[in-house]
């Protein structure tokens, strides 16, 4: 199979200007997602996962500025589009599921109408048939009794139901790329499993490319084809999920795996990651932002980060990989 990248992010750097200095939030971030592929972005809070997604979607905070890079999507650079052209892509070709469905939905608009709005704005539906199409979408995300639920307000629905509504909105126009930013945080594990199955199934049906942002490595491994590990605004490793679990090559990925509770581990065997993220406002940030916490640091680590290909679709940015 020759893989066609649906989205290819190259050399993306983002800075935030704050009162206490310029924060280099992302630096030379590059990865791609193929059609029909699900890629996870994982890392601790502050690693730049969400900022990457926001930059691609063009919804960065006003203080954020893309200083370099391209995000090629079907031959066009999303980062170079005008707000007007980008708005045409969002909703139709690009879609996003946000972290907290209750706050992301409009609290004073019936959920059926919120789905209909997207269909009218981007899907070419008329106001007259949109409600029926919205009910079809509610059926696709398996909401029981869709005719009645379409009339509900978000506060009348459970968290899991609201997340299904978000998914229905995101998928209403069959986008080519879906970004799901921690779509199951705050949901119960049983609901999480059902929602993740649903996203996987709908993505599979339509050959959609999916970027899945999470801090849960096990979840990423179960539902994603590839995992991209981020640390302090750098991509440190990218590998197929099972490969990453079996043979992590970057010291940070290995530490992250060793800290994750699993079925067979005892509490004493779990190891924390020493140190914290470096202050990204520092003007003299080291080339490898993990080097301050790293046990395998060499003198070489002061040089610009390498990109070693160490296996089939397995890349690591480290001078002294495991």
């Amino acid at each position: 199979m020759t893989a066609v990248p649906a989205l290819s992010v190259e050399d993306l750097s983002v800075e935030f200007r704050t009162r206490s200095g310029v924060v280099k939030v992302l630096e030379h971030v590059g990865f791609s997602v193929d059609k029909g592929e699900t890629v996870a972005l994982v890392g601790e809070s502050g690693s730049g996962k969400s900022v990457t997604a926001f930059a691609v979607m063009g919804i960065l905070d006003a203080a954020g500025k893309v200083t370099s890079g391209r995000a090629l999507f079907g031959g066009i650079d999303l980062l170079a589009l005008s707000e007007h052209d980008l708005a045409e892509q969002r909703g139709r070709e690009l879609s996003m599921i946000f972290q907290n469905p209750r706050t992301a939905l409009n609290p004073i608009r019936r959920v059926g109408r919120q789905i209909a709005d997207v269909l009218v704005r981007h899907g070419g539906a008329t106001r007259a048939d949109a409600p029926r199409a919205a009910i079809e979408m509610l059926k696709r995300v398996r909401i029981p009794d869709p005719e009645r639920r379409a009339e509900a307000y978000p506060f009348e629905l459970s968290g899991g139901m609201c997340q299904r509504i978000m998914i229905a909105i995101a998928l209403a126009c069959r986008p080519a790329l879906l970004i799901a930013d921690e779509p199951t945080t705050g949901l119960d594990v049983t609901t999480q499993a059902v929602i993740m199955d649903l996203i996987g199934e709908l993505a599979g049906d339509s050959g959609m490319a999916t970027i899945f942002i999470t801090h849960d490595l096990a979840l990423a491994a179960e539902y994603c084809d590839r995992i991209v590990v981020m640390h302090a605004g750098h991509i440190v490793e990218a590998a197929p999920g099972r490969e990453l679990f079996a043979h992590p090559r970057h010291p940070y990925s290995a530490k992250l795996l060793a800290a994750t509770p699993g079925e067979t581990v005892a509490l004493e065997d779990l190891a924390s990651i020493p140190g914290g993220l470096p202050d990204l406002r520092r003007p003299d940030l080291p080339a490898c932002r993990y080097s301050g916490r790293c046990e395998r640091r060499l003198d070489q680590c002061a040089q610009p980060l390498p990109q070693h290909t160490v296996g089939e679709r397995h890349v690591v940015a480290c001078w002294n990989p495991l």
Partner: protein, 335 residues
Amino acid sequence: MTEALLDVAELAKRFTIGAKDGLLKRATSFRKPVAPLPQLHAVDEVSFTIGRGETVGLVGESGCGKSTLVRLINRLLDPTSGSIRLGGVELADFKARNFAANPYRARIQMVFQDAGDSLNPRYTAADAIADPVRRLKKMSGAELAARVGELADMTGLPRELLSRFPHQLSGGQKARVGIARAIAVEPELLILDEPTAALDVSVQVVILQLLQQLKRELGMSYLFVSHDLNVVRLLCDRVLVMYLGKVVEQGPAAEVFADPKHPYTRALISAIPQAEPEQRAGRLRLSGEPRSPIDPDPTVCRFYGRCPKGTPRCAEEMPLLRPAGAARQVACHFA
């Protein structure tokens, strides 16, 4: 067998819902029979014990009554019926309103879910830790300062951070302040409500290990509420599974995880993400939404309708919690 530290028996909490009639309505309708208002059965006849030095996990989905149960035991809410005995003393008779000044207040303490939200933003770390001691123990200023320093050492909080406010502390440091505050008055029972839910995995490990170590050193018992089953498995001796106000299964954590007997427990364990595809075979997924907890039919199993096993019998006869093996109990006709 040694006596249990906490003995909860047939504990129930029902909330009356719907608006109460106003004065005019009451004044004009005094002859009409009063229709009972609907009741939400948040916690329904729950019984369990926690031994000294034991860690009991409480799991279940949101809305199953975990938080209400915790608030009842912690005496922040008054139960509708039932008993809560701590070391042989009946706590259910004390009113929640006055419990803050009760000497037993010091014996049950709680670590709240989000350390950031549960700390007073205008209190320094030292103030937050000293506050319960000041209220519940008689101590001079110098003693108090020494005690706060000692607690900071015990929880691994650098002493130089004691003068900081919550917004100047990291997530892990705030979690340590929350724990130091809870153990400051030497409780026998510590209730931990998702203590690591807001933390990154690397910090979560440190906090879990700290909790384990403190339990050993101070001989406390833990009631550990979580929906992260991998964390429950790491820390708990025994586990209680709640579904819609009822305990549906309980037993030693290792046994329950290896061989869940209630269909709901099985679905919970099936929902744990697995990196290895081989381990995903035979998983159980729940469909539908939970039944309403408002005036539930006492003859129908609470899980009926969502349960893959449901039979007509489940709709006619509520399964009771009954022994299944040496230390286990299950409430299912088919377990």
